[in-house]
């Protein structure tokens, strides 16, 4: 069974974001880049499916500039068999729809039975791509998946989606698209053996022309980015306990409107 995992490289969660001078981008200096955590769940799940079936191929794919190779290498180090890097200046300003088109073209070439993604990337939190990809391919798709089981003959996948207070269970015919929610699994750490082995695995550069796409303009463009306002300082309520509790309740109700 062939599985394609679409991943995105994002700034490390611990990074202090700074706005770029143009006010539309983030300043990339000093950023540590990582594989988006939800995508790591997707990679892990793909590897588990392959291991459970005893055969198959896991292909990691990502769109972005040269630095994205590092993210793909860490997927290879985790155990993916090969990687595809959609790397072309034509995609420099790609929005989710352009990215979905590029991925759909790769999916058509590669013809996997399953595409796994994270539920959303943790940088811009759009979460739009898997649905767009499903639409472009005409494939069934299920999101925020907590459990997954591909049937023995690889014809369908049973997935359980997180909903308020429970799980919603679907059977999807394959090929299909599934996105990973936190809790689906605990991703493995790449081992040294894996890291060394990753250097020898195929990491293919793909240009827009290679997948038959012409340059297009993004439909979504960023007008401005704004930093969050600094958090207002905390307030310590003074006084004896009964009065302080009363004041706390009043403040939560009237000032913070939290209760």
């Amino acid at each position: 069974m062939k599985i394609l995992v679409a991943i995105k490289q994002v700034p490390d969660t611990a990074t202090q974001m700074k706005l770029g001078a143009d006010g539309k981008t983030i300043d990339p200096t000093g950023i540590t880049w990582i594989v988006s955590p939800y995508d790591e769940f997707a990679v892990e799940e793909a590897l588990r499916i392959k291991e459970k079936r005893g055969q198959g191929e896991v292909v990691a794919v990502s769109l972005g500039p040269d630095r994205v190779k590092e993210a793909l290498r860490s997927c290879l180090a985790m155990g993916c068999d090969r990687a595809i890097h959609l790397n072309d200046p034509a995609w420099g300003a790609a929005d989710t729809l352009m990215t979905a088109r590029a991925l759909a073209a790769v999916v058509k070439q590669e013809a996997p039975q399953l595409v796994l993604c994270g539920r959303q990337a943790i940088d811009d939190d759009m979460g739009a791509l898997p649905a767009q990809l499903g639409e472009l391919l005409g494939w069934p798709s299920a999101y925020w998946i907590m459990e997954e089981a591909v049937d023995a003959d690889g014809k369908t996948v049973r997935v359980a989606r997180q909903v308020e207070g429970g799980l919603e269970v679907f059977d999807l015919p394959l090929p299909a698209i599934v996105t990973a929610q936190k809790g689906l699994n605990e991703p493995r750490y790449p081992t040294l053996k894996g890291i060394m082995g990753a250097k020898k695995k195929e990491l293919k550069d793909v240009k827009a022309a290679d997948v038959g796409l012409a340059a297009e303009a993004p439909q979504l463009s960023i007008t401005a980015l704004e930093a969050l306002p600094p958090r207002p300082p905390g307030r310590i309520i003074q006084g004896d306990l009964p009065t302080a509790v009363k004041e706390l309740v009043r403040s939560l109700r009237e000032d913070a409107k939290a209760i």
């Binding site: 750490y189 081992t191 040294l192 053996k193 060394m196």
Partner: protein
């Protein structure tokens, strides 16, 4: 490695420090992830990496803010078990390496004795051949992983040296825990490194199978001396990485703590002190990496390793003193990581060869 330390080590160190040991399950987890066999051959479950991979292990483990956890792990990976691949027979490697790599066999190094430490050639534990066993009698002290360990890389006398060549006649043995006549006489209580267990060991006619002689009989001193360069580089790495973490913790503290109407980080006296310490650490790092590269390349490195061990561990202790000082009263409290760091790092100018011995070695290479 860093993600692993953040997620699975740092959250537990307080518990392990209090318990005075690290749990077996943690050794197995390290084994499962391949961290205990970074340089060992792949046929025994190792990763076939190089010394620089071990340096990364040391640096990242030391950042867990428990010197003892890092110390125990690195004694196993770098200060004992490498002698097995260096001098062990095929059969010895086949027997012990898989367990060592898996974290099932925890290793310790037994050189120091109650009567001698720095002067390794003066050790008196005896190993006398009787048929197919050596009978070992004597005692060892300050043995890390000694209380809960499984396999001891032990130095003992199989012959007496001469007045000129006192270091002749020492041999190395692989001694398994549980042999008759081998007892852990005491678990030692100590200033820092509390998560790593430290033992006093007693041997009374303990029969060690002759096939557990490690390397060549009578050449133990030379074998140990060769391996000490790895151990000392690693000691420098652990001290340095922990000190870097403590300095980061201190910088964060100075940013947060207010006095006289502004963060302490605004005070020039403290800023300059931080600048000096950061500079010292950077210099130490350059020297340690230089020594590590020489060792990894198999080049002559005794002088550079001794310098790196001396300089890095002394710089780390300066960092400790100032990190506590800049934390004020909080630096003296158990809840603050710099307090533990200051206790832990005190060891490093003593163990793995004292600063005085490092200076002796360096001076000898300058004058002789």
């Amino acid at each position: 490695m860093r993600a692993f330390v953040d997620k699975e080590v740092t959250p537990h160190v307080a518990e392990w420090e209090a318990a005075g040991r690290i749990p077996r399950s943690f050794w197995k987890r390290l084994g499962e992830l391949g961290f205990l066999g970074l340089e060992f051959p792949t046929e025994f479950g190792g990763a076939g990496g190089d010394f620089l991979a071990s340096i990364v292990l040391g640096e990242e483990m030391a950042r867990c803010r428990s010197g003892g956890v890092a110390f125990s792990v690195l004694v196993h990976t770098d200060m004992s078990s490498p002698w097995l691949t260096r001098y062990g027979t095929e059969a010895q490697q086949r027997k012990y390496l898989p367990g060592i790599v898996a974290g099932e066999t925890v290793c310790a190094l037994g050189i120091t004795e109650p009567g001698t430490g720095s002067d390794m050639a003066a050790l008196t534990t005896r190993a006398v051949r009787h048929g197919d066993v050596y009978r070992i009698t004597g005692s060892k002290t300050f043995i890390t992983n000694g209380v809960y360990g499984d396999l001891y890389f032990l130095a003992a006398r199989t012959g007496s040296g001469t007045a000129q060549r006192r270091h002749e006649g020492i041999s190395m043995f692989l001694v398994e825990r549980g042999l008759p006549g081998f007892t852990v006489s005491r678990k030692l209580d100590k200033t820092g490194m509390r998560a790593s267990d430290t033992a006093e060991l007693a041997f009374q006619d303990c029969p060690v199978p002759a096939e557990n002689l490690l390397g060549v009989e009578g050449r133990g001193f030379q074998q140990l001396a060769a391996g000490l360069q790895r151990e000392r580089t690693m000691a420098a790495v652990l001290a340095l990485a922990a000190a870097s973490q403590a300095l980061e913790d201190t910088v964060a503290y100075l940013r947060e703590r207010h006095a006289f109407g502004e963060p302490l980080a605004q005070r020039q006296a403290l800023r300059h002190r931080i600048a000096d310490l950061a500079t010292d650490l950077e210099a130490a790092r350059a020297l340690v990496y230089h020594a590590a590269m020489l060792y990894a390349a198999g080049e002559e490195c005794v002088k550079e390793v001794s310098m790196a061990k001396l300089f890095a561990t002394e710089v780390a202790n300066r960092v400790a003193y100032q990190a506590v000082q800049m934390h004020g009263g909080y630096g003296y409290m158990r809840e603050f990581p710099v307090e533990g760091f200051a206790r832990d790092v005190r060891l490093w100018t003593i163990a793995s060869g004292t600063s005085e011995i490092m200076r002796e070695i360096i001076a000898r290479r300058i004058f002789e």
